[in-house]
């Protein structure tokens, strides 16, 4: 049956630079099929290193982090560790109102406080200068926590004392907190510059005829699902140190993408990028929140340093971080599925409202990403999807590990489970029956690797799914207050393969060592170790010969952001390509040396490299040369077991298994750790983390680590990871990214297991004791 499909497209050239950046970083454009992704080939190319796993000497093994010594001794230099003797410290007065106009600010008392070196308000910000569209110091604050005045003083105590001496008077303006309210035509405008609160054109995707699809269905299931506001809470708070040396600017910043900051600050201050140096030697976590995003604090330290002529440091307090940093945005979804009796999907209809917060440069793309799973994961001839991003007076939405997909796949996979029960099918079988194994239905691009079926089958087998699930009759069959259950979900992710042009240089200095010059961040995946392994494998040298530079825009080129699960695949590809180029140059050099020495015509392709020695294949008697002489998207399933205490509402996750198609394992130690860490963040998303606003005042009430509850070591379940190696068509040695896919599965898996245990279907995150008890009461 021929189908027609239509997907909203964005005119890339008309996007703002911030939007382009976001689209590029997260590959979101590819979702919207209208934009061709030049990097994804129309057909799988010949694989560059199509060897069996056993043939590798370095990759695929457990390799401890090459930077580990610095980490465990406290020598690793994070931005938080940068101090100068004459440095000034910043504190910022923030808006207590979600939407207001500053009527007056009196800073005179603060300026007179001994030790205060500079006080700034919006009046001191150069005209039209913004941080990627956000006010650096606001005259019309658009959320509680918008920066209003900044003080630089000789220490933080004096700066804090000075804040209390600043008097700000506001005119309150109407505000709106909830995207569902803000979407309505008569809603208050979140910012006075808006015509309405809708962010960009709503995203729409249609295929076939969805009403016919539902008419043909034997079973229709639907539900309303909401997922909460979260902050990433990287352990290193956002911070930067700025230092001007006349017209040269250096910024130390905790970042996933220094080159992006260098470019945006340079453009804003009218400097050539060569005069802006941005350094982030070690980064204390980011999860997407530090992906080169323009934050007001970066401009503030830069302006204050320029004004005072001294190095200026602003280490945001944890509450500052909650208010100024980006958020994993709440999504309100309705989703409806149609099935034939045999389980065949006939129709998918979904609508998604993404709460973009104030100023989000990405607002137009947020809703579309939540619909990715509904569009591509299963084969379905009839779909109708709509997504809207809505501006609100809340924390600025950004990208957190997998952006909108975790919310979308949660909604989809809950409903798949419910459908499986109504069809009396094993939930695993229902997924297998409908899997999309060919590629993007709209762009027709094939999957770069496709191990989903294998992941599901092997994962279910390893978990002993059949034995532990026991059929739908087993739901809520336990006795006693504590009930156990298992749950399953599947996920085909679009993450982990795209990005802007990446560059890296592999240098081989005269001593024959290997230096990888690149600008990617070291942020938790032992990224520098991964790249060293890829280079060592590509050059056939020992790992100890290889060193990798930290990101410093003065010395490294733009290798792209470490986000979007692209450190291994995309940056890995860049360093591998560079290494292969270096290898070719080495061989040409060696061939020319031997041509002279042996007085015969030696060709580069007659040479090979092993463990750092170049040898001449036709003649084993020729002494090998050392380098010194030569030189002049992931797929996943999860199963989980947990227990629900029906007297207290407390859910305890016991056993998680994630099976991923990872293309190829580079560092077994790191990839396992990524799955474990992703599982923990996913469980926090599912059970505890919740950023709550007081609706009457717009003030967040959980902007601290007491009320914003993250899980600790004693809430860690057994986590098993299973890696399916399918040799990805694009990634280095067939590898692809894992960072984002690892976070997504737990929420749906846990919700489905809660149903299996206690017979309640929870459709709102987090699934805390309150929601469990309320659902149990409703069921009783």
């Amino acid at each position: 049956m021929p189908t027609t499909s239509k997907v909203t497209t964005f005119d890339y050239d008309k996007l703002t630079s911030a939007e382009k950046q976001f689209v590029d970083l997260y590959g979101l454009a590819a979702l919207q099929a209208g934009i061709a992704n030049a990097e994804s080939p129309a057909a799988p190319p010949a694989r560059s290193a199509d060897k069996p796993a056993a043939a590798f000497t370095i990759i695929g093994k457990e390799q401890r982090d090459l930077e580990g010594y610095k980490i465990v001794t406290g020598r690793a230099r994070f931005t938080a560790d940068i101090y100068f003797p004459d440095m000034l410290y910043v504190r910022v007065k923030r808006s207590p109102l979600p939407h207001a106009r500053v009527k007056s600010i009196d800073t005179s008392k603060a300026e007179k406080l001994p030790g205060v070196k500079a006080v700034m308000t919006y009046k001191d910000i150069p005209e039209k200068m913004t941080a990627g569209g956000r006010p650096i110091l606001a005259s019309e604050p658009g959320l509680v926590g918008d920066p209003i005045a900044a003080v630089a003083a000789i220490n933080e105590t004096i700066a804090e004392d000075a804040l209390n001496l600043i008097d700000v008077q506001y005119d309150q303006l109407p505000f709106v907190i909830d995207a569902r309210e803000a979407e309505k035509p008569n809603a208050p405008l979140a910012l006075s510059t808006l015509k309405n609160n809708l962010a960009g054109t709503p995203f729409k995707a249609t295929r076939g005829d969805v009403s016919k699809g539902f008419a043909d269905a034997d079973l229709v299931v639907e539900h309303v699902v909401d997922t909460q506001d979260q902050q990433h809470v990287a352990m290193e708070p956002h911070m930067a140190v700025a230092k001007w040396d006349r017209d040269n600017l250096t910024i130390w910043i905790t970042s996933q993408y220094t080159h992006s900051t260098a470019a945006s600050v340079a453009a804003s201050f009218g400097l050539p990028t060569s005069r802006v140096r941005v350094i982030s030697e070690f980064t204390g976590g980011g999860f997407g929140d530090k992906a080169g995003i323009a934050f007001p604090y970066i401009w503030l330290v830069t302006l204050l340093s320029r004004k005072t002529g001294r190095p200026v440091r602003y280490e945001l307090t944890r509450t500052d971080v909650f208010m100024e940093a980006t958020h994993h945005y709440p999504v309100y979804q309705t989703i409806k599925l149609g099935f034939k009796k045999d389980g065949t999907l006939t129709a998918i209809q979904a609508r998604s409202i993404a709460q973009a917060g104030a100023y989000s440069p990405f607002a137009g793309f947020l809703a579309s990403d939540t619909l990715s799973a509904a569009r591509v994961q299963y084969t379905c001839a009839n779909i109708s999807l709509e997504g809207v991003g809505v501006i609100t007076n809340t924390g600025v939405a950004g990208a957190r590990r997998a952006v909108g997909e975790p919310s979308g796949v949660f909604a989809l996979e809950l409903l798949m489970d419910e459908a499986a029960e109504k069809l009396s099918m094993d939930p695993v079988e229902l997924r297998l029956k409908n899997l999309n194994e060919t590629g993007d239905p709209e762009s027709k691009q094939p999957w770069s690797s496709n191990g989903l079926r294998e992941s599901i089958v092997k994962g279910a087998e390893a978990f002993k799914w059949k034995e532990r699930w026991k059929g739908w009759n087993a739901v809520n069959s336990g006795t006693g207050p504590v009930k156990r259950g298992v749950g399953f979900m599947a996920l085909a992710s679009n993450k982990g393969s795209k990005g802007p042009p990446m560059t890296a240089v592999v240098e081989i200095p005269v001593d024959g060592s290997v230096r990888v010059v690149q600008g990617g961040a070291h942020i938790g995946g032992s990224q520098r170790t991964t790249w060293a392994m890829i280079v060592a494998e590509a050059l056939s040298v020992k790992l100890e010969q290889v060193s990798v530079t930290p990101p410093d825009t003065a010395f490294t080129s733009d290798t792209g952001v470490v986000a979007g699960s692209r450190a291994t695949k995309s940056i890995g590809l860049a360093v591998k390509t560079a290494a292969e180029d270096a290898r070719q140059q080495l061989l040409v050099n060696a061939a020319s040396k031997w041509s002279k020495d042996l007085k015969k015509d030696v060709k580069a392709d007659e040479l090979e490299i092993n463990e750092g020695l170049i040898s001449y294949k036709p003649d084993a008697s020729v002494k090998p040369l050392t380098f010194a002489q030569a030189v002049a998207s992931g797929f996943v399933i999860v199963d989980g077991q947990l227990e629900v205490n029906t007297e207290t509402g407390v859910v305890r996750v016991l056993d998680v298994l994630q099976a991923h198609d990872v293309g190829r394992v580079i560092n077994l130690l790191t990839i396992r750790s990524q799955v474990e860490g992703g599982s923990m963040q996913g469980i926090g998303f599912a059970l505890t983390e919740d950023y709550i606003y007081d609706k009457a005042t717009g003030i967040p009430v959980s902007a601290n680590l007491d009320d914003y509850k993250m899980l600790m070591i004693n809430n860690t379940p057994k986590i098993t990871s299973l890696f399916i190696e399918t040799n990805d068509a694009v990634g280095p040695f067939g590898a692809k990214g894992i960072g984002e896919p690892a976070l997504m599965p737990p929420a749906a898996g846990i919700a489905n297991a809660i149903y299996h245990a206690a017979g309640i279907r929870l459709k709102s995150l987090p699934m805390n004791p309150k929601k469990v008890m309320e659902a149990l009461k409703k069921k009783a």
């Binding site: 207590p96 509680v144 933080e156 105590t157 004096i158 804090e160 004392d161 209390n164 509450t319 207050p481 007297e647 207290t648 509402g649 407390v650 059970l687 505890t688 709550i692 606003y693 007081d694 609706k695 009457a696 005042t697 003030i699 009430v701 959980s702 601290n704 680590l705 007491d706 009320d707 509850k709 993250m710 899980l711 600790m712 004693n714 809430n715 805390n768 004791p769 309150k770 008890m773 309320e774 149990l776 009461k777």
Partner: protein, 331 residues
Amino acid sequence: MRSFKYYAATSWEDAVAMLSKNAAAQVIAGGSDLLGWIKDDLNGPGAPRADLLIDIRTIPNTSYVKFDAAGGLKLGALTPLVTVAESADVLKNYPGLAKSALSPASPAIRNVGSIAGNLMQRPRCWYLRGKDFACYKKGGDFCFAVTGENQYHAILEGELCYIVHPSDTAPALIALNASAKVVGPGGAKDVALDKFFIGPRTNVLKETVLEHNELLAEISVPAPAANWKSAFIKVTQRDVYDFAVVSVAVAGQIEGGVWKDGRVVLGGVAPTPYRATAAEDALKGQKIDEKSARNAGDLTLVKARPMSQNAYKVDIAKNLIARAVLSLASA
């Protein structure tokens, strides 16, 4: 942190005298709660701005666990929670108290946080702790929880202000009929811990009977009588760094499976630790079984007046009372 002054007290009398002289002084023991309060710069009539900290950890001999079978247990005010929780005497004679001292916050906080500090800490209400909410306790005329985010707020005895008492050791100590030695300008006096905490209907600006220049110096717990047992259960979202959604401490004299006498005290449900006298009365002379235990829980929560988001706590509290009472019978 903003600036303040510091004074190291040498004796209880010295500390009392300094407090009497300085209206803006606050006492610092372990400092876990107070420093957070200062860092967040929370101020108002019920939360005076501390311009001077009076250190009472510098007073000699204030950290101790003393026990004898006749006189019972004495805890110095500055005794770290970890010391209480790990004391062999406490573990053996007051298992409910030991468990309650092991449950606040985190191991590092229990290393520094004192038993008196755990009793005296201010409530965790996120409106009280939010700088920009002028609630009753900060001199305002509104409780934001009533119409706002009240999922953790009081289900019992709320009035004007709907805080819940955050201490884990308070219910455990009240269940054990503990008393507090209070020092002040007139010398020392004993106050039953049961009467130590006050709710908003008595005074919305504070949570205990202590005046500004009075200090909690020592906790006394009577010696355990024959067949006395105690237990403590706390429900939280995570196993560390979490205040009780609901907690319950029970101590009872159980003979032949029958509840002779005892106390049931709830935490996390009311502005003060809540004596469940309805449960205590109903259990008296009853054989402990599923039915009598459930009944004790149900009767206690008859008086519950939940708000828009916290009715789930009523069910948890009922279940928890039943579970704790049953645990004494099986212990």
